[in-house]
Symmetry: C2
């Protein structure tokens, strides 16, 4: 599982500072989270095969998180997409997109499904055989969700040595991966844990942007492997953070600490700060294992 940062700045895009957008890859899945203006160009710049995106999650309807969506949807059409596309986002997103498609006479040739969200409690919004995605209700000026990506427990791994030793036929390996014991031709039972190894620990990633300091999310994100938490401001602008319902780096660190996450990634930086290291320093007052989101960087979870 990995996260590629396409943009991690707040408010207005600049030449080298793009607004929020991330690619999350997990096994064969490629998810897009948020889609600020210019995201389709950022995807090209990072040489990401974006036709693989089947599901897009939009946190909220502030422009720096979704103004690039209509362009991406339109470009998918122009590039001949045939795969279905699912959009998960706040109520209203369907009207915004379909109004523009209607007025431009540019309906997509592929199927576009909107899953509009308005629940203020966490809900499961997406699930397949390997991963689940839940909303993380956040506290911001408008209705906003973070998203929690949780891998499911995978299949057990074949222990090649013991499987060879007991001459287990290939056709039984699937049952072993699913945890069944093995019955040999003499009626002996070989316990599954002799023939297999435990599955890898499922990984989890919590995306939390935009939000005020909001300890209500802690239960849900406890122990996640990676928490991306917005830190729009430094402590010098703490009052502004309170007023605009954003967080400071130190508050992001506090959330990470309370939730005992493995690693914290800071993002959604205000472009007013030239020296990003101060974000790290201020978050470290509360939580040590912290990194800065860097545009264009892929983070393996």
């Amino acid at each position: 599982m990995n996260v590629t940062i396409l943009g991690c700045h707040s408010a207005t895009p600049r030449s080298n500072y793009h607004t929020t957008s991330q690619i999350i890859e997990q096994k064969n899945n490629m998810f897009l989270v948020d889609c600020g203006e210019g995201t389709q160009v950022r995807l090209r710049e990072e040489k990401i095969n974006f036709s693989r995106i089947k599901n897009i999650f939009i946190s909220h309807l502030h422009g720096d998180h979704f103004y690039g969506l209509i362009g991406l949807i339109n470009s998918f059409k122009l590039l001949g997409r045939s795969l279905d596309l699912n959009i998960f986002g706040p109520k209203g997103i369907k009207e915004i997109i379909t109004l523009q498609l209607k007025l431009s006479g540019s309906w997509t040739n592929y199927k576009l499904f909107f899953h509009e969200l308005n629940n203020t409690k966490s809900e499961l919004v997406y699930e397949n055989s390997t991963i689940k995605v839940e909303t993380i209700p956040l506290k911001h000026r408008i209705y906003t969700n973070g998203f929690l990506f949780k891998e499911k427990i995978g299949l057990r791994t074949i222990n090649i040595d013991t499987v060879k030793k007991y001459n287990i036929p290939d056709c039984d390996l699937s049952n072993l991966r699913n945890g069944k014991d093995y019955l040999d031709i003499n009626g002996f039972i070989i316990k599954n844990d002799v023939l297999t190894l435990s599955p890898k620990k499922p990984l989890s990633y919590a995306f939390c942007s935009d939000t005020a300091f909001y300890p209500s999310i802690i239960d849900q994100i406890t122990n996640v492997d990676l928490l991306y938490h917005e830190s729009t401001f430094l402590n010098t602008h703490k009052k502004l953070a309170i007023k605009t319902l954003h967080s400071t780096a130190e508050q992001a660190g506090k959330i990470a600490s309370l939730a005992k996450v493995n690693k914290l990634m800071l993002g959604h930086f205000s472009t007013r700060y030239k020296d990003k290291n101060q974000f790290l320093e201020q978050a470290k007052k509360e939580f040590d294992n912290v990194v800065l989101a860097i545009q264009g960087k892929k983070y393996v979870i």
Copy 2:
């Protein structure tokens, strides 16, 4: 009067190929024509003081001509704009923009006026003391207008030598500029053309994108100083041009020739062509004084 090309490519934006957007400067006026995705970043890259834009003209509601508008409007707000902003564009543009402002809870602090167009005949849409802007109805898949920028005839210029010779007081210069003769204290009339020089020839610029080959525009654009005409395709894709209601470079040249314009600028290039010189060559079969639009270049008219 000059035109700065922010983007001149069709369909989907790329890292180095931006979609349609231009700045037209004339005296103290700064107009924006079309606003593809990423236009606000292009304005920054060209170091254009875009708070000076008071009037934006949108040709049609295909994404490569207006997806950047909502972001620009929103950034104006975030940057503290107080000046009024006028948007001239096809009917529907107001609903698209206001829906997004409403759902994001982000009404502008400045006044935003929409001038929605649905006339299929040319009309005067903007006028101030030095310039007029008329629509140029074009032929495309959806309702589309080009725009004709026509300078008004300016004031006469003071002939410093003769004004000195006849000792004309400063308080009379304004009357001279407006064409009045001068009556001296002895009752003699000095003719205006002795004391002033003719005003500069007023300039004109016609922006025609997107459109099929459409000779109906010729009367309106005859003798313009600069014609920007779309040339999405080369002759190898003439059938595609006909199908999609776009033009080839040769057709753009034909229009320029029939309209006896001073200079033709080609733009709205399909990104499928690597060698842009073929656009020039094919247009030159019909019209000699032709240039390619080059992103980032300012063209003095």
